[in-house]
């Protein structure tokens, strides 16, 4: 009996995990590059794309700016992220329900400078947006801040 129960639970977990995976794979349009100056590239699934104005972004994209580069993006929840020169910014995870504003947004700054204006996800739920640096987790309860990481 215990064995049956646990097997059932295991199967439910598998189904739930498959669902999560599908949901993640569906997050193809999470934002767009609105501003780009100097050298900007986007790393996606091992490929490097030119970071031009208009490029539609996906979860897990890594944005890199050169010594003369800067990039500004608008996410689907209206969050605004902009990075200065010599920056590496990863959009680790983004999911957003435009009807309810529920979702989750995790970004990571590995290097450089970043300005953030939080959007609907953080407004709906103060735990739902984070920006990670190499040593800390920033919890975004609202609106505007800047963060830098020197190497």
């Amino acid at each position: 009996m215990t064995w049956i129960c646990s097997r059932r639970r295991g199967r439910a977990l598998l189904v739930a995990m498959a669902g999560l995976w599908l949901f993640d794979a569906a997050q193809a349009d999470v934002g767009q590059i609105k501003v780009a100056t100097g050298q900007v590239s986007v790393e996606r699934k091992g490929q490097s794309l030119p970071g031009r104005v208009g490029l539609v972004l996906e979860s897990e994209d890594v944005l890199r700016t050169g010594a003369d580069g800067a990039v500004g993006i608008t996410m689907r929840d209206n969050s605004l992220l902009s990075a200065g020169p010599n920056s590496i910014l990863t959009l680790e995870h983004f999911e957003f329900d435009p009807t309810t504003s529920d979702g989750r947004f995790d970004a990571r700054l590995r290097r450089g400078t970043l300005a953030v204006v939080s959007g609907r996800i953080a407004k709906k739920s103060p735990q739902a947006m984070t920006v990670r640096t190499p040593s800390a987790v920033l919890g975004v309860r609202g609106t505007e801040f800047v963060v830098s990481v020197d190497e």
Binding site: K34, G84, T99, L114, A115, T133, A136, L138, G142, F145
Partner: protein
């Protein structure tokens, strides 16, 4: 010899000070005026930045709070702040009861929408149609979609490519003014337009 050792210690301290922080966080003033804060968590330690220009330097010994200011922020973050996209702009157009025709006043708002689009190197536009609570769900869903499509067509007539516009119909699900069912309410017969 003693003096030399002393000088070496002072030099090391100066160097450490010059090396500066590896990571810095500064909360900026919020023009919207709502509550604003950033929590900085390192392991089990947490610092909360809740005042404009409150800063934290993150070192091996945890987060150390410091007061920053507008000049410091401009000096360190100028290029990042200069690359910030324009904030999304929102507009509302109102409709004649039961129809997909805008009210006269709303025709003027369309001019403001186009002014906002013109400010941006690349704009995406989201058009969300709504209805009041007169009629059933199916009819209102159709009417709300039709209203959004009318706006898309009006924008296309003024030269905005249709593929730049996403239309959504929400029927009577998201009322601007909450009413009972079957209530004709002009403020609910609307289309919201978001220019990003």
């Amino acid at each position: 010899m003693n003096r030399l050792a002393c000088a070496a210690v002072v030099a090391a301290m100066l160097l450490a000070a010059c090396a500066g922080p590896k990571e810095t966080v500064v909360l900026l003033p919020n023009p919207g005026g709502q509550d604003t804060a950033v929590t900085v968590t390192q392991g089990t330690r947490q610092v909360v930045l809740a005042q404009p220009y409150a800063g934290a330097r993150l070192g091996p010994n945890g987060a150390e709070a410091f007061p920053s200011n507008a000049q410091q922020v401009r000096a360190q973050y100028g290029p990042a702040l200069a690359a910030q996209p324009l904030p999304p702009a929102q507009f509302t157009l109102f409709f004649v009861e039961g129809k997909d025709e805008f009210t006269d006043e709303s025709k003027r708002i369309v001019d403001s929408v186009f002014a906002e689009i013109a400010k941006r190197p690349i704009a995406d536009v989201i058009v969300i149609g709504h209805t009041d609570t007169v009629g059933n769900d199916a009819a209102n869903d159709a009417l709300s979609r039709q209203r959004a499509e009318v706006v898309r067509a009006a924008f296309a007539a003024r030269g905005l490519a249709s593929d730049k516009v996403v239309t959504i119909g929400r029927g009577k699900r998201e009322l601007a003014v909450s009413t009972g069912d079957g209530v004709a309410e002009p403020r609910n017969r609307r289309v919201e337009i978001l220019v990003r």
